[in-house]
Every structure is written in C-alpha cells, then in structure tokens.
C-alpha cells in the first residue's frame, strides 16, 4: 500500500513538474515575448477568419507595431473579461481589445495613446419602428458585460424606463435582438457596422454618443517600456499611412464585399472544417490528459479514504468535499486567475484547465473509488486477514480487483462527463471545441447552425466513447 501511494504521488508530482516546466519556457527565452490578451468575439477589432487565424483592426495594429518596434508577442484571444483579469494578475503583459479609456479603468491600468475613436450606437431589428431611446419604455435591452456601450445603456435605463439583460458575447447579444427577445442592443459603432455588413439583420438608429477612445492597456505601473514602444509605433503607422490602410481593410464597404459565402449547413461545415477539427483535437487532448491525472488523483485519494487510519480518511473526505462542492466554472477561474495573483507564478490556460479537471473529476473519481472498495463485502477482507495476509496484500490481491470491477461503469461515466466538462474551460480561453464554436459564430453570426454542428460532434464522440467502453466492460466481465 505504502509503495503504491509513493508511486502515485511521485507520478503526480512529475506530471505537474513537466507541465509547470513547459509553462516557464517563454519567460526563460533570451528575448522577451509579450503576451497580449484580446477578446474572442469583437469584430472588426478581433475575430478569427475562415482559416481560424486571428485578424482585425486591433490585431493588425498590434502586429504592425511589434514589427516596426522589433519586439515579439503572442496574441491570446481570452475574452474581454478574462483578459482584464489576466492583465491584473500579470498572467499576460497587456491587452488590446477595443477597450475604451475610462477614469475607472485608468485606476488599474496604464493606457497607451488612444488608437481609435468611437461612439456608442443603438441597433434594433431591421423592420422595427423604434427610432431612439424614447421608444424603449417598458422594453428589454441586450448589452454585453463589461463594455462601455453596456454602461451607457445601464445609466439610461431608469430615465427611459427599460430593463437590461447581459451577455458574454456580442453574437448572443445580437441574436437576442434578431430573435425579438430584446428590443434593442447597444454597441460601439464600428463593431455594429461590421456586424450589419456581415449580414446581421439589424439597423443602427442613433448617432454615435459618448465618443470614447480605445487604448492599449497594461497593468498600472507594470510595463512602461511596452507603452512607450506602442506609442512610438502607433505614431509611425499614422504618419506612413499604414494605420488608415488597416482601418479601410475592415470598415470600407468595398473591402467587405465578399465572394458569396455558402451559408447552408454543409457549406458552413465545409468552410469551418479545419477550425472545428482542430477544436475537437484540443477537446480530445484535454480530455485524455485530464482523465489521466484525474484518475491518478482520484485513485490516490479514494484509496486514502479506505485506509484503516482516521487521519488518512479525513484528508480524503476533505479533498472530496471541497472539490466536489465547487462549481467547475468557479474552480477554473480561481485556478487560472486567482492562484497567479497569490503566487506571482503564471499558469498557461491549458495547464490551469488540466489542473481544474484533475481536481474536479478527480474528486468524483475518488468518491466512487472509495465507494467501489466499500462495496466489496467485508467478509472478503476478513477471510484474507484470517489466513495471515497483511492488510496491503489482502487489499491488492483480493479487495482491489473486485472493487475495480465494481468501479468500471463509474469510470466510463466519468470519462464521458470529463469530455463534456472540457467545454466549460472555454471560459479561460482554451481553444477547444466550444470556444472554437464561439469564435466561428462571432465571425459569421450563424449561431444556430454552428451550435448544431458542435452538438453533433460532441454526440458522435460520446457515442463512439460509449461503444468503446461497453466493449471494454464486456471484455472485463468475462
């Protein structure tokens, strides 16, 4: 037993070490590579194109500046709120995400010179008769969390007598209006313009209000040299005309005239095949790694929970209680953004994701490992001990083999749950299947068809997994 515990725990440590080590590589590189966060779904400022590469005004400006100022950087589409937290916990160095410069934000961020002037507009259904804020009395309005446009609407809700509903993604907000659930939505002008040009069935009914300015941001006091480089680069782009070119590329009517896109289910499937496959690949990879560590974690704490030692059982019960009690979403955000602000050590999203799943799925695994061993009749242990076999041998040769057989269905069930739970990790920006879906939808606004595809892919994989596990279960029963 002791040997087994030592083996398992060293295994766990080695695993964490390998991951932790990978995590540090970018930092150790001789030349500093900046990690820049951005939103996932904020066209025309940032969005993934058909080839699943990130493009947009923000991205192009950032790239052009990096090139002219000679620094390396990685763009990380984390989502707006996640990027804010990641900058504040110094997981990343800066963010460019259509972020309006406000006094409130200036308390926590240092902004570079503004790179874009914008204003808030209100959009309604194409055939709607609402012409302005006055028409919203008694109606519901869709806004996006943490945006200036959202704040603008919220501040006027009382005066104009409307209620608000908040969304995490622009496309969900738009669709709430398109579907008629909400009467209007508020968004920054260029974003709204781009959406309508892409085929969104909305129209803009107000003039840009509360002119705001977008700025590149770093954590307050953390990165003055990066701000300086950005300002210098931006000035160059403006003088040499590159800045206007970038803007025109995304906003001028001529350039957005696309070749007619096949918007049928199969057309969309064909167009997004590569992105979806790579998302699926991430999902499967994440699942396999997570199951591996969760199983080790779960078996370890499950076995601890059946030892004839009150202290060991106490540890096991506590671990199960904590990690089974925490919602997966909270655990993921806590590990990804909370731990680094405590320790000052960055964690890559994928590592945070694996650790999250290891704790959560591992706690469930520990519970059924404990239960499975407990379900082996106590007479088996007594008979083995009565023959003079020590506890560890009795456990290993008699109780465990029977317990494992009882656990097999639970293991299979847990694998399937783990696969599905990886979708929750899209919250920390891991580009798995669900996140891939969000990104595709942000570009083409075909929510229904894309989610149908994603659902179908999950179902197919789970069906295959179920067949496979039934086969293994049958093999084990014989």
């Amino acid at each position: 037993m002791k040997k087994l515990i030592v083996f398992l725990s060293s295994f766990l440590l080695v695993g964490l070490f390998v991951f932790g080590h990978q995590a540090q590589q970018p930092v150790q590189a001789a030349e500093k590579t900046y990690e820049i966060g951005t939103d996932v779904t904020y066209p025309p400022f940032e969005f993934a194109n058909e080839k699943n590469q990130y493009v947009g005004i923000d991205i192009d400006i950032m790239k052009a500046i990096a090139k002219s100022e000679g620094f390396k950087m990685n763009i990380k589409p984390l989502g707006f709120n996640a990027a804010v937290q990641a900058v504040q916990s110094e997981q990343i160095d800066g963010m460019i995400a259509g972020m309006t410069i406000t006094p409130e934000r200036q308390a926590k961020f240092d902004f570079a010179d503004p790179y874009y002037k914008t204003g808030v507009v209100m959009a309604v259904q194409k055939d709607s008769k609402i012409k302005g804020l006055e028409g919203l009395r008694g109606k519901r309005v869709a806004i996006k969390t943490g945006t200036s446009a959202g704040a603008y609407a919220t501040a006027r809700a009382k005066e104009y007598g409307f209620t608000t509903v908040t969304f995490d993604d622009s496309d969900n907000m738009y669709n709430d209006v398109v579907n008629g659930n909400s009467a209007a939505c508020f968004e920054d002008e260029p974003v709204m313009q781009y959406g309508i040009k892409t085929g969104l069935k909305l129209k803009i009914v107000t003039k840009p209000a509360e002119g705001g300015e977008y700025g590149f941001a770093v954590k307050k006091g953390s990165n003055p040299e990066l701000i300086a480089k950005f300002n210098k680069g931006l000035a160059k782009l403006k003088t040499n005309g590159q800045y206007d070119k970038i803007k025109a590329k995304y906003l001028s009517t001529e350039s957005t005239k696309k070749a007619t896109v096949d918007h049928s289910f199969f057309g969309l499937l064909k167009e997004n095949k590569d992105a979806l496959l790579s998302g699926l690949g991430q999902t499967l990879l994440l699942t396999v790694i997570a199951i591996f560590f969760a199983t080790i974690f779960g078996v370890f704490f499950g076995l601890l929970g059946v030892l004839p030692n009150r202290f060991a059982r106490g540890i096991s019960n506590t671990v199960i209680y904590i990690f089974r009690g925490l919602p997966l979403l909270v655990l993921a955000l806590f590990i990804y953004t909370g731990i680094p602000s405590l320790t000052g050590q960055k964690i890559p999203a994928i590592v945070a994701g694996v650790i999250t799943l290891m704790f959560n799925e591992g706690a469930y695994t520990a519970a059924f490992v404990k239960g499975g061993i407990g379900a082996v009749s106590s007479g088996q242990m007594e008979a083995a001990r009565s023959l003079g076999l020590p506890y560890s041998k009795a456990m290993r040769r008699v109780v465990l083999p029977q317990g494992i057989r009882i656990m097999v269905p639970s293991f299979i069930n847990q694998f399937i749950i783990t696969l599905k739970d990886t979708s929750i990790l899209s919250i920390i920006g891991i580009l798995e299947l669900t996140q891939t879906g969000k990104i595709i939808i942000a570009r083409n606004l075909e929510g229904f068809k894309i989610w149908a595809m994603i659902a179908l892919i999950y179902l197919i994989v789970i069906t295959v997994l179920t067949w496979l596990s039934k086969y293994i279960e049958r093999r084990m029963a014989n």
Partner: protein, 244 residues
C-alpha cells in the same frame, strides 16, 4: 499444553456489553463446540480468538503468543489459526485453486508448484477434485464451504475456528460439510466450532459450552450437557432446539 487460554475477556460495543468476563482454555487436539441462543456472543467470542474483533479488555494467548500484546505479530499468529465463515467468503476474483493457493504462496510458505499439488490434494480430501479450475460463483453452498475449509487447511494451521459453518446451507448440503469436519476432528485438529448442529456436537465434541447473554453458563462433555444439564437456561434452550 493448552492451545488457547482466554482470561477475563470483555467486549463492549459502546455501552452494549457483548462478552462479560469470559475464561476458557482449549487443549491440544480438543474439539470444543459452542452452542447457545443467537445474540449470546458465541460468534463475537470466536472472532476475538484471531482478533478479527478487538477485545475491550482481557487476555488471549494462542500457541503461547499473547494476542493483546502490541509486540506480537498478528499476521504470524493468524497463519496458525484457520477460520471458516458462515458465508464462506471465498475470494470472488479467484478460481477455486487460486483461493487455496493465495495465502501459502503470497506468504512464502510454498512454491507455486508445491501449492498446486497441495490444492489438488486438499480438494480431493473434501471431495471436490473436479472443481480445481472452477469459479467460486458456480459452486453450491456446500461446495463453497468445503473449498473454504480446504483454503484454511492450506496454511497448515494448528487450530481451526468454525463460525456457524452450516447455517447458510440448504439442509441437503449440511451432511457433506459436517463429514469433512468430523474427519478433521478424528485426525486430531484442534477445533472451536460455533454451531446449531446438535447432532454434530453430541458426536464429535470433546467439550460442549453453552453460552447465553455474554456468559459461559455451563460446560461439560456432550453427555453432561445434553443428558444431565444443570442450569435452567441450558435445559430451556435444549428443550426448544431438540424438540422443535
């Protein structure tokens, strides 16, 4: 020489006193049969003898080893005390032969080859030579119990404890198991048997012990207990059991 010496044995479950200050000695080659109403503490007493049950206080000495002494190696003492359970407790994940061979091989008492010959021989003596490779679940209750006896014998114990070995069996299976036990007794095995089989007690026991309410109420030869019981409770119990 005494195989087992028990003095002032007390066992409580919380405030519930199950064994109330018991003394008992079992001599070499002796067959002791314990009878009494259910809940009288017979099985608990038996399970204290190999410490599957932790005594609350008192002293138990088996083959010269003090079981309550924390310095004595419990596993080593248990090797010498076989136990047969009411519900057989055959290892469900192992075949019949593997059930018998597991402990001797794991504990380094026999090589795998030696264990195989031993298993074959033991299965012959309990009349189950053809079940060598069988899965325990495919056996009847009586067959299971005979395999369990063979499993206990494989460790070549000095003492065998039987905890109601026939209580879970269909009536027609009881005879086979009792026959095996009788043969063991005849061959000189020291045995402590908790049972409701009065016929077996009469025929095989050197000494019969009647227990009630956590006390040894009366003990003596089978004749003394069954023909001239002294205590009212013994008389009452035997009256109920024998005239049922």
């Amino acid at each position: 020489m005494n195989r087992i010496e028990v003095s002032h044995l007390i066992k409580n479950y919380g405030s519930n006193e199950v064994l109330k200050d018991l003394d008992l000695t079992v001599g070499n080659n002796e067959v002791v049969v314990m009878i009494g109403p259910s809940g009288s503490g017979k099985s608990t007493f038996l399970r204290c003898l190999n410490r599957l049950e932790e005594p609350t206080s008192g002293e138990i000495i088996v083959d010269g080893y003090n079981l309550s002494d924390s310095k004595s190696d419990l596993n080593q003492i248990r090797e010498k005390i076989g136990m047969v359970f009411q519900h057989f407790n055959l290892f469900k994940n192992l075949t019949v032969a593997e059930n018998i061979m597991l402990a001797p091989v794991e504990l380094g008492k026999m090589t795998a080859e030696k264990a195989q010959t031993t298993a074959k021989k033991l299965l012959e003596t309990v009349g189950l030579a053809d079940k060598y490779d069988a899965n325990p679940q495919s056996l009847s209750g009586g067959q299971k119990q005979r395999v369990a006896i063979a499993r206990a014998l494989a460790m070549q114990p000095d003492i065998l404890l039987f905890d109601e070995p026939t209580s879970a069996l269909d009536p027609e299976m009881v005879g086979d198991v009792l026959a095996v036990m009788k043969r063991l007794a005849k061959d000189g095995m020291t045995m402590v048997v908790v049972t409701h089989e009065m016929g077996f007690a009469k025929e095989v026991a050197d000494r019969v012990i009647f227990m009630a309410d956590g006390h040894i109420v009366e003990q003596g030869t089978p004749q003394e207990i069954f023909e001239t019981p002294q205590n009212e409770r013994t008389k009452d119990f035997l009256n109920k059991v024998l005239n049922a």
